[in-house]
Each structure stands twice: as structure tokens, then as C-alpha cells.
Homo-oligomer: 245 residues x 2
Amino acid sequence: MEAMTDTVATFSPLYQQIKGLILGSLQTGEWKPGEMIPSENELAVRYKVSQGTVRKAIDELASENLLVRRQGKGTFVATHHEDRVHFRFLRLMPDEGEPHYPKSQILDCKRLRAPAEIAKLLDLKTGDAVIEIERILFFSEQAIVLEEIWLPGATFKGLTAETLKNWRGPMYALFETEFATHMVRAEEKIRAVAATPESAAALGIAEGSPLLSVERVSYTYGEKPVEVRRAVYQTREHHYHNELN
Amino acid sequence: MEAMTDTVATFSPLYQQIKGLILGSLQTGEWKPGEMIPSENELAVRYKVSQGTVRKAIDELASENLLVRRQGKGTFVATHHEDRVHFRFLRLMPDEGEPHYPKSQILDCKRLRAPAEIAKLLDLKTGDAVIEIERILFFSEQAIVLEEIWLPGATFKGLTAETLKNWRGPMYALFETEFATHMVRAEEKIRAVAATPESAAALGIAEGSPLLSVERVSYTYGEKPVEVRRAVYQTREHHYHNELN
DNA sequence: TAGTGGTCTAGACCACACG
DNA sequence: GTGTGGTCTAGACCACTAC
């Protein structure tokens, strides 16, 4: 009760307020991806509420994939340094055989001024510095995905093609480790398009072939957009997998 | 404690067992879509557990969209007779303007013997009776989707083109009302393909134009497959929207 | 006013991980 | 054994809906 009047002006359930406080600690980096947060009992003392109330707050954050509970060990800040997480953001699957992670070949990585469209999606001003990455993804030695990635220059200061080429593992893990930016969720717009001369050449297919176009905007804590991806997928022997619940 | 040994042999948390019992009542139709289920306290008495345990079971079923809680009223069996639900299964959005529900034009509806491929997806034997529906979906008077739907003949006995043409509303609501089959979830495989002469003609576009191919398998309670859809979407002014969490 | 789900608490005990 | 999250209970009170 006391916690309510002490910390939050507008009314909402106590556990929602606690959730907000925990979220705050995630945003400020008090607890970093992969680290263990204090136990439920410790947090209960800290926030002056019962352990059950902390529990409900953590339950929601876990269901949003911001925290990961591990019985007997503790509760941890979600990280992209785990196999388990990767397929949440990688939906392209081979028609036959097991899903697997592709190899990435960096084609380019340069700083430039944000075009209006990208700036808008990233919540920047036109002309602000952005980084553009171009790459190809290979599944079983076949070039399947051609992708452009835009990142806000301010957040990803110092990112170069070298950094990317030396990195082993998912790009989101790199962003987390080197730039303290954890991707929480993303939205995609999917279309069918005809291969342009450039994409046809890069993927080794005929110009005009049908390709899956996927535009993604990714967000970090607090609904802040931090990445735009525009990719074309070759779907002759692969498909985009989706679950409707 | 008593409830555990009385009702279930293998070990699992009590609330999981309660969840299973509730699911059973949904499957047998004891509580039908749209109806209210007994209150938490009634169920607690019935199952001889505390109200909190029933609550946790219902919480999970609600998060899986099988039940819907309404404060002050009760807990209801989820139904497709609600606007809120429709966009869970309709992911095609106009690039500009508000999402809206399309108009359906039935082209055909016939009984036939299941091809091997469809039989496998529907968990039937090759040659079992199935119903095939063919239709076009119009968004703002434009033909955007060409779709084939296969249903198990046994479950959907008596479904005709007339039934479909006279129905106002989502097809899943019809299935629920007329054939006691509630769709719970679906899986989709998405690709880019070139328009065949038939699909080009139906959608009024050039042969070979890129189209989004969407193959869906839908499931009812107990992971039972009850529908296969194969559709092509025209994505010049629309896109498939997806959220990655 | 009565009945429903929603919140919050306090305490007991279980399952799991690790030193 | 100790500490963590996981389950289960019992009871009080709040918020919303309907009559």
C-alpha cells in the first residue's frame, strides 16, 4: 500500500507497478542480459510487497520474453546468446530437414545520412547518421537471403564491416554485447516481389523470379525502434514458418 | 491431494491436472463456444482443490485463447463470433488505411476423395471423403486472395455452396455453429510464387506476377487437424503482417 | 445487493541446482 | 544443506456487472 503512494501517482495494480520498476532496472542496465536478477524474496523486501506480488510481475515479464526463470537457479535477464532464442527471429525454414542457422557474408557496411523513410521508421530525423549493412545469408552453402540492415548511428557508433566479419553467432548477440542494445520484439511486413537485376545476381536466380520480401522493424525496451531490415528470401526450397495462436 | 490420486495416474502439478479436466469438458462440448463456464469457486468445489489452483489452470487456458475472462461476468469459452478474434487468423492488411474484413465469393464446393497429400495433413487415409471449397476474397472490391480449402467430409457432413453463400460472417464462426468445430490455432508456410494462368485470371493480374503463397493447417482442441487452406495473396497494395515476440 | 473475476497477503511445502 | 523458483492453500478485500 505504502509502495503505491510512494512510487506511482496514477492507479494500477501493485504488481503492474512492480513490473514497471523491474522494467526500469532492465532499461537502465542495472541488470544486464544474461545476468541473474535478485531473488523474489529480495525484491519483495526491496519493494515492500509480498513475494507473491513480485512473482506475478516477474511472470508477466517472463511471458514477454524479457526475463527467463530457471527453477533452482534464479531469474535471468533474457539474452540472444542462447540457441533457444534464435528461431524466435529466424522464421525461414528448409522444406526438408532440420531448421538450422545460416552463415552470413557481409557485403558492405557504411555510415550515411538517413533517408526520410528509414529515419521515420527508426524515430530519427532525416539526415541523422545511420549505418547500413548489406549481407547475404547462406543455408547449406546456398545463397538464400539478401538483406539490408539500417541502424541508428548514435547507438551503434564504431560498428564496422570488420566487427561484423569477426563475429561468430547471431547478429543480435553482437548488438547486445558490443552496443548494449537488446532486441525485444519485431514487426514484419511480408510481400511477394519479382527479383530485381541486383537481387537476382546476388542470389543466382533469374531476374523476375518471385521472392519473399520481408521488412522488419525491431524494438528494444520501451518500444524504442533500433533496427530496420529489408530482405528478400528465395523460397524455392525454403518457407517462412508462422504460428497463429 | 485427494484429487490427484483419484483422477490422474502420472505426476504433474495439480493445476495442470485441473487444466486437463477443463480441456476435457471443452472437447466433449459440456461447455460450448460463447457459453459461460462455472465460476472459479464452483470448479474448486467440483475438483476438490482451492480456488487459487483453479484460477491458475484457467489463467493458462485463457493465455492460449481457449477461454476468455470477463471481470464481473464470468469466464467464457472462446468463440469466433467476436470481432476481436478475427484478426488473429487474418494477417493480410492493406498498406494504407485501416485493416478490414474481406468479402468472400464462393466459386465451388464439392465432395471428393482426399488426395494423399491432403489426407496426410488432415490425419485421414488417402481416399477418405473430403470437401473442397474454392473462393475469392475481395478487399475494397478488389480480388486479392484466391483460396482452396479442404475439410474432412465426416466432420463437415452436409456443407454445401448454399450454406456458405448464405452465411454472413467469418467462416470459422460457421464451422463452430453448424459443425461444432472450434479452431484453436494454425500453422502457416509462406512462400513467393509466380501466378499460374488460373490464379492470374482469377485475380486479374499478369501471368507470372509474384504472389504470396500461404498454406495453412488449422487445429481444434487436442491438436486435431481439421482444415487445410492453400491460398495465393496479391500483395501489390497489401501485406502479410506478423509480430515476432 | 449479490455474484463474478482480480489483487494481495502469509505461510507451508515441493522440486531443483549446486557446493 | 541452503537457496532458488514452483505449487498449493486460505482468507481478506477490491473492481466490475447485473439485477
